[in-house]
């Protein structure tokens, strides 16, 4: 049975929401779950729920990395933090995958420290699936690596392609390089060099894409550095809120419009459902020698539940073995 370690103390509403999500997963899926963190608090939370079967175990960890802490220092100092214990369990193969909604930097640092990188990969990248005009697309990296080289970006493309193929079930997924214009000569020195590497690879590379292509679904995977990717992610999160706020402000001025909005509600709810990040639940930290899923700090129980399913699926499909094979095969091939 697939075993998942969940960081019980990571996230804005931990441990309550995390425990809720784990219980939901236990009642829906056939996995074993190791809830990692303060044993007393986690058991007290678990007592609020009825869980069918005996598939949730609590593993004690005495420390917590808070959201604002400096990641590398926190991971080095707090060896017994919940996130670190999770990645240690994975290292010792006591679990098959890890889910954490805690400090993202700490999750990356702890994964690097305890699990290391896949052979041939030089930096990890966070890949996030999001809804576009043509179904689910993938963006990598959204925050693990703020100063990537062109080679790191090429590796992100290779990993995103494999993840899209095996997990998102895309056929021949296309890759776009996020840039400030479609022409080849655009951008920074790094994006120019990455464009060249991607063009020379045998990936299904569609060339440069622009900000608007996050929505158009022009390609299945958008490759970018972790700084730009993170800013974009937070803008997209913010946009849904701002459109809602503006709409509410306007209809409050006009009773007829308010009545109209009531009639539109099913349509608005459908949009919100289709663009809901909770469906994906979490973002894989690709390139790490182990399956680590990073969830949003503000995750709901439903998002945690879906992240657990994603973690189990990624482990079962052996996505990392596919990445290693692909990288090794490319190294053997003569350059064209």
């Amino acid at each position: 049975m697939t075993r998942i370690a969940i960081d019980g103390m990571g996230g804005d509403s931990a441990p309550q929401v995390i425990v809720d999500g784990v219980v939901q997963a236990a009642n829906l899926f056939d996995y074993e779950m190791m809830l990692v963190g303060d044993e007393t608090r986690l058991k007290r939370e678990l007592n609020n729920y009825k869980v069918t079967g005996g598939r949730i175990f609590v593993h004690h960890a005495s420390e917590v990395v808070s959201m604002g802490e400096s990641p590398v220092q926190a991971v080095k100092r707090k060896k017994d933090s919940s996130v670190n214990v999770c990645t240690e369990l994975l290292k010792r193969k006591e679990v098959d995958a890890v889910v954490t909604a805690g400090n993202t930097g700490a999750a990356v640092a702890s994964s690097m420290l305890n699990l290391g990188l896949l052979p041939g990969i030089k930096r990890p990248g966070i890949a996030i699936a999001y809804p576009s005009a043509h179904g689910i697309s993938l963006a990598i990296d959204v925050g693990a690596n703020v100063d990537p080289t062109a080679e790191h970006l090429l590796h992100y493309a290779i990993m995103a392609e494999i993840y899209s193929r095996f997990v998102l079930k895309k056929r021949n997924p296309s890759i776009g390089l996020l840039n400030i214009g479609e022409e080849e000569g655009k951008g920074t020195e790094v994006t120019k060099e990455a464009h060249k590497l991607l063009r020379e690879s045998n990936l299904n590379f569609v060339g440069n894409v622009e900000g608007r292509d996050f929505f158009t679904g022009k390609c299945d995977c958008i490759v970018t550095d972790g700084f730009v990717g993170n800013v974009v992610l937070k803008i997209i999160e913010g946009v849904v809120d701002v459109v809602g706020t503006l709409f509410k402000r306007e209809i409050d001025k006009n009773p007829i419009a308010k009545f109209g909005a009531l009639l539109c509600k099913p349509a608005l709810d459908a949009i919100q459902r289709d663009t809901n990040y909770e469906e994906a639940g979490g973002a894989p930290l690709l390139g790490i020698n182990g399956v680590v899923i990073i969830s949003h700090g503000g995750s709901t129980a439903m998002a945690i539940r879906n992240a657990i399913r994603l973690a189990a699926t990624s482990a079962e499909l052996k996505v990392n073995d596919q990445i290693v094979n692909e990288i090794q095969q490319r190294e053997k091939e003569p350059k064209n």
Copy 2:
């Protein structure tokens, strides 16, 4: 009388839309306008309109830089291109400001070549005004400089502060540095260094801001590099379209919602009006020794008309003199 040169051949629908905008401006404002480009085509377009007064002049330029051309090469090769002739007219003080909706890179390159930089400034930056939850905010740079140093970012902050004070009429405008977290140690080497410079300046610096703060209006000016700024700009443009498309798709499925949407229309129109880039009309290229306003390639006539007004206002308020004074004063002051 304030004189504005307008690149008649720049933009996706030039010269038609440009001429339309210039005619609108001539009928509304008390400026003299020099329409630069192919004399025959421009005069033929002008014949379609009735213009009160005699305030539109045509200045011939035999070449055009197209939207896809490599900017620096195009400017060097096409000395008699409409954008180049505009900046030459400004250099010779035959006009007070320039408006172009053509190739942005060519506008920047031509401005650098013919006008140069303000004393003390090392790189130009494009500043764009956009609507946030608390009125108009300003973002700089959105595409002139993809690899800025920390000092360039400090200069962007100083120029944005002055522009916000004098043109946007903000009192003590606040500055935020776009980053991937609010904590001081976040980001790239350049953003960390820029954070330090901004903290040590006597600007009203609120610290790091994140993607979502483009909408929250947490600060009056957001400083970022031209790569991130350009991606963000194009995402924000794309978002309005995608929300509209999703909404239309959903209400088409449901006749009651469709009727509701009709009742909501005044509210939706108000949102569109409040978030309409046409109101601003164009973005100043700050740091250049002359007033150059860059408009969107897809500008409507109304956007061009407003860009002309913005160009005239910037020239009349002597924004550049204020920037030079501020930079010189800072160089004299002892560092705190």
